[in-house]
């Protein structure tokens, strides 16, 4: 009897914490999104779905922009991260941990501070653009800050480790003898890569896509620091609705929609491929 109780006693405190501060808040938010009222007089549940329709229609540009930026960021990340992960996994040899540390150490710097450093680097007359402009290589009107390029570049920078690590883990698991066998069977380097290495690395890429697309699409710090009025993402809208306008029902409806879109895709994905891999990678 006592034996049967042990796991429940172990799980209880943490489980309650997750229930209280994750499940209950999510439910509160969903409920609040269907209420009407204001901060001063309180809210009443009215099942007012119109809030959703209004919020989505008003901010559909920012919604679509966020998903587009998220998708582009993820695609760029696959392209940037795969060769690096491949190089460390295959050519890293004994220095693999050192290279990984070099790659990850920038992330010991606070996220906000890193993003602000980028703004400092990219300002019109800053260390990067200033010299190029005075040398006449760039026109004086050229600027990066405030453009989608700056925002997507910042997003790629922020989420790079979440793509490199899962891909690295997948590549690292590949038995070199499998690739040798392919070569022995007269596969050229390209064919061996395409037909052996790539399929074995795909789970890592999938995990990376999952771990970067969601946070990149919902990010608001990067576009607030590096972007401009034409790059506003849905995260900025939600943040402003909550913290500046205190328009809680509309803000809740927006973030519930964001959550539904992102988590819906995620759960479909998790059902298809299993959660174990992702969580293992997330823990690294």
């Amino acid at each position: 009897m006592r034996r049967a109780l042990t796991p429940y006693l172990l799980v209880l405190p943490g489980g309650l914490w997750l229930l209280l501060f994750f499940v209950v808040p999510a439910a509160t938010m969903l409920s609040l999104s269907l209420q009407e009222g204001d901060v001063v007089n309180g809210y009443v549940f009215t099942g007012h779905w119109q809030t959703y329709a209004d919020a989505i229609v008003t901010y559909r540009t920012q919604f679509l922009r966020s998903l587009t930026y998220g998708a582009i960021t993820t695609l760029v990340l696959v392209g940037v991260a795969f060769p690096v992960a491949y190089w460390i996994a295959v050519h890293g040899g004994r220095r693999k941990p050192a290279y990984l540390l070099l790659l990850l150490s920038p992330y010991f710097v606070s996220f906000v501070l890193r993003t602000i450093s980028w703004r400092q680097l990219l300002t019109d007359e800053g260390v990067l653009l200033g010299p190029l402009k005075s040398a006449g290589l760039l026109s004086a009107q050229f600027h990066v800050l405030g453009t989608p390029v700056a925002v997507i570049g910042g997003l790629v920078y922020t989420f790079l480790p979440f793509m490199v690590l899962p891909v690295y883990v997948a590549l690292e698991r590949i038995d070199p003898r499998v690739v040798e066998a392919a070569r022995d069977l007269y596969a050229g380097p390209a064919a061996a890569f395409r037909r052996v290495v790539l399929p074995l690395a795909l789970p890592g890429v999938f995990a990376g896509v999952l771990m970067t697309f969601v946070p990149a699409s919902s990010d608001y710090v990067t576009s607030a620091v590096l972007g401009g009025p034409s790059t506003t993402m849905i995260g900025q809208v939600i943040q402003a609705q909550y913290l500046s306008s205190s328009n809680y029902p509309a803000a809740s409806a927006l973030s519930a929609t964001l959550m539904a879109v992102l988590l819906g895709g995620l759960f479909a994905y998790a059902r298809a491929l299993g959660t174990a891999d992702v969580l293992t990678v997330a823990a690294r």
């Binding site: 941990p97 710097v109 906000v112 946070p215 913290l243 973030s255």
Partner: protein
């Protein structure tokens, strides 16, 4: 796998990516030793270490850093204990509800920070709870639990059970076995999970932004001060935190290295 030339191109490319990643860190370190005079620490005025001596001269910034460190410490301890419980149970026992727990943990890891922070705000607002360091810590423990649990579970699953059986054969009770055998074997996973919790808490900006009220943490202070110009003390603190992180990572890596015979 690839020819020599391919390897060299890959190497050059990877080093270029690493350089790109390190660029903002260099900017941060550089401007921590900049002899700046005006309000904006943006252009190079020559080398000085003066700011390191004057690191605690901005009271609000110092207070924000202390708040952040205390919250991170609390998060580390509480999430460490609760996460270890979950991780151990999930790795060792089969029990009803473990599937649901798995799903909730997965959702908590995957859920965007923004949505997490926003929903916590709605909860605290409807409860009429005062926002501050306590609500930030509650939120941080929530998102750190899953990470600790996953790290500990992975370790429990690879644990050699015959060691515990041997202890039992030698007459150790269940509690003694757990305390003298299982716990020491789990210690590396528990401590790396706790470090992760500390780091996640210290770096968090988004969730804290929603649950802080008028309390200011280190990232929140930086965010608020950006427009008025960041004082060089921010760079000094950032540099010191960065160096601490690197040193910790290096020492853990050296300790974890398998010994050669």
């Amino acid at each position: 796998m690839t020819g020599r030339g391919g390897g060299r191109v890959l190497r050059a490319y990877s080093l270029l990516v690493i350089a790109w990643l390190t660029l903002p860190v260099l900017v941060m370190v550089l401007f921590s030793v900049n002899d700046t005079r005006g309000r904006y620490n943006q252009s190079w005025n020559g080398f000085t270490l003066a700011w390191y001596g004057r690191i605690f001269e901005r009271d609000e910034l110092t207070r924000a850093l202390v708040t952040s460190l205390l919250i991170a410490l609390a998060t580390m301890l509480v999430a460490g204990a609760l996460g270890t419980g979950i991780g151990y149970a999930l790795g060792r026992y089969r029990f009803r509800g473990s599937g649901v727990l798995d799903l909730v943990m997965f959702a908590a890891v995957a859920c965007p920070d923004l949505v997490m922070g926003a929903s916590l705000l709605t909860l605290f607002v409807s409860l009429g709870a005062g926002l501050g360091a306590v609500t930030i810590a509650c939120a941080h423990v929530m998102f750190a639990i899953s990470f600790v649990a996953v790290v500990v579970r992975a370790r429990v699953l690879t644990l050699d059970r015959s060691l515990e059986e041997a202890a039992a054969d030698l007459g150790a009770g269940r509690w003694t076995t757990f305390r003298r055998i299982t716990l020491p074997l789990l210690a590396p996973a528990v401590s790396s999970g706790m470090l992760l919790a500390f780091a996640l808490s210290l770096d968090d900006f988004v969730v804290a932004g929603f649950t802080a009220g008028t309390t200011t943490t280190f990232p929140l202070w930086i965010w608020g001060a950006t427009r008025a110009g960041l004082p060089p003390q921010v760079n000094v603190m950032g540099t010191l935190l960065y160096l601490t992180g690197v040193l910790l990572a290096v020492s853990t890596a050296i300790r974890a290295r398998p010994r050669r015979r």
